[in-house]
């Protein structure tokens, strides 16, 4: 199963994190810091895997990461997942983000926190892979956005004033 998904920026700030194996809140922050420490020491052009993460995670846990511009996308999993397949899955996730935000950059990730979770929830549930085709995921996410914008149309009046001014 997939144990955790993290998106960390180049300075170690987490932008997204989801733990499919329960961890208390402080432990989560510690794990993120540990992963960042390991990743920041890696040069480019090396393999995208990390095998032994010490005793912080379990003994079986492996890590796959991909470095896109300023963000590290990290998947942690055990040996019931194939390493190259996990690498492909990161690719699917990033492709979907790209389609969703039209050429995604870190700022999109920062300001669309809920949408990131929505997209991730269409790809992985409970540590199991649901969908590996970014087109399908996109379709589901668009459906959700449409539904949510029609229901919120009725509540537009209550929107806070600063966002009125912004429009």
């Amino acid at each position: 199963m997939i144990k955790a998904v993290m998106v960390i920026n180049g300075l170690g700030k987490p932008r997204l994190s989801k733990f499919y194996e329960f961890q208390p809140a402080e432990k989560q922050q510690e794990l993120i810091r540990h992963v960042y420490a390991v990743l920041s020491g890696r040069p480019d052009n090396v393999s995208n895997f990390i095998r032994s993460l010490g005793t912080v995670f379990g003994p079986d846990t492996r890590l796959v990461y991909k470095h896109y511009a300023t963000l590290y996308f990290v998947f942690l999993f055990d040996n019931s997942e194939n390493e190259l397949a996990m690498l492909d899955l990161i690719q699917v996730f990033v492709e979907t983000l790209d389609k969703c935000f039209k050429s995604v950059c870190e700022l999109d990730v920062v300001f669309n926190y809920s949408k990131m979770h929505t997209i991730l929830d269409e790809i992985i549930l409970g540590g199991q892979v649901l969908e590996t085709d970014s087109v399908e995921v996109m379709r589901a996410v668009e459906e959700i956005s449409k539904l949510e914008s029609t229901t919120s149309a009725g509540t537009m009046i209550n929107k806070s004033i600063p966002s009125w001014w912004a429009r």
């Binding site: 895997f49 194939n82 390493e83 190259l84 492909d88 892979v129 209550n158």
Partner: protein, 633 residues
Amino acid sequence: MSGPTLLDSLFQRSLEDLIKGLRLYVGDESTFISKSLDEIRREIKSTDPQTKSIALQKLTYLHSIHGVDMSWASFHAIELSSSHSLNFKRVAYLAASLSFDPSTTDVILLLTNQLRKDLQSPNSHEVSLALNALYFIATPDLARDLTPEVFILLNSNKGSTRKKAIALILRLFELYPDAVRVCFKRLVENLENSDPGIVSAVVGVFCELARNEAKSYLPLAPEFYKILVESRNNWLLIKVLKIFLELAPLEPRLGKRLVEPICDHLKRTGAKSLAFECVRTIVTSFSEYEFAVRLAVEKIKEFLNDDDPNLKYLGLQALTIVAPKHLWAVMENKDFVIRSLSDADANIKLEALQLVLAMVSEDNVMDICKVLINYALKSDPEFCNEILGCILLACSRNVYEIIVDFDWYVSLLGEMTRIPHCQKGEEIENQLVDIGMRVKDARPQLVRVGRDLLIDPALFGNPFVHRILSAAAWVSGEYVRFSKNPSELVEALLQPRTSLLPSSIKAVYIQSAFKVLTFYVHHYISTKGVISSASQGVEDLMHGRVQENPQFVRTGPVADSDTDDGGLNPMMLHRPVRDVSVESFEDMSVAHEWIYAFHVLLCFFSLPREWRLLLLKLAFSSSESHYKTPGPT
């Protein structure tokens, strides 16, 4: 704190405002965060779902990204989840998934009815939300209560819902084992589904289940076999292979039937992930089928020659699995493995190192060690010590099984000590002493190496190596009769620089100096026969020393260090009677011997009285515990 006012609702800051505010804030973030938290605490009590939702959203963000505690807000999340709007429901369920702790959050049970309603909802997105949240917050009670609803969803018309229900069922099985009875049949029925996504989901679940208890899923092998042979979906095939990895050891007949299809897939597929999984399955579980292993090794070679470092790394990993039973595969790729020792990627270097050591045997141990030491000298400290550690481990395995030429090995240990980054002091120390006690023939070389180490001034600078100096001193003292120039040893043992060493090691130095001294004295007495006034003088001197320290008088009978049997402590210093081989001394004149002997005594007596007493006390008090006796060789 008062409840929210209308003004609060109108001027509420959205999540976007919060994030912007955090980014622009100059100074300590935690002040901004605590201010926002105060606002949130007021806003969240609002009865207006919009206000509540935004407040909860902000709180979830702060919790997830900044680690802020939000356990106090669990009831609000539950309240919000009953909203009809998909928006608010999503916010509520996300807050629940990220912050509820199934073992401590006691309000989770209040969600049961709401979850049930949402699981039965005609809107598939509401169902998805509920399924997702249920994974994170499920308790045994919740699992028991909601299994019927999830069971119904296993047959849902919508493929995506079905997949999610299947993924969730694994968690329900864990928490509420009776769910297996209820849902198993439907789960298996889904294996026949035409949608490969659904079948993948089911196979994924069985993959997890089989890891814990493979035997129960053996009856399903025919279904999995059908999928293996017929499917063309890579994800599905990978999962099926993983299941067979667990099942194959239980049923030998499976192996015969599986090898063919797996080899077919390996030959046909263009997908590297599937190819690697096939290779891994073959070399782990089907290594007795020569033709399959050969095919797998071909593929591994392809991976190794690829430019992609990921493939190189995985290829090396696969080779490591193959190595124990099919060493020829590793030997074929020997050059690549050795080249990989200097790769930029730390992972690849480590795997290559493991492989090199798998290749080591009696014939090639000297060459391999030479190559490895060269790499160690060129590498960073961490990898250098990895290499040294692996060499030490491999050579000492099974009581030095692969070493034929101990003289060479002892000089190798000396060479390792001199490597600037060496941190393996303890292991090298143990091995030097161990070899000294077990291998008689190696003792002359050991003394030579020990002498070189003792006189090398650079070694004092590396604190990790001090323990090796202790071993070198012990060895020099113990086997001094093999030494060509004992006076050099004594000088080295008593040089002023030894004050840099910790006291336990200084104690060994002193002991060894005494051993050398007594060797001289005994040698003189035994070659010159008995008694002139000079030898009497030496005996007096010895007794003079004895009187200074009563411990010396109390010690028991003489121990003979020549025998290797386990009962004796070779570290006992006080044995003036020794069987000495004197070949190295035949050329020395009597006068020389006396000069050397008194030289040593003078060095000792030139120290202040308190120092002499202290050193003697140290020497005799720590001598018994310093080295352990070996078992029988």
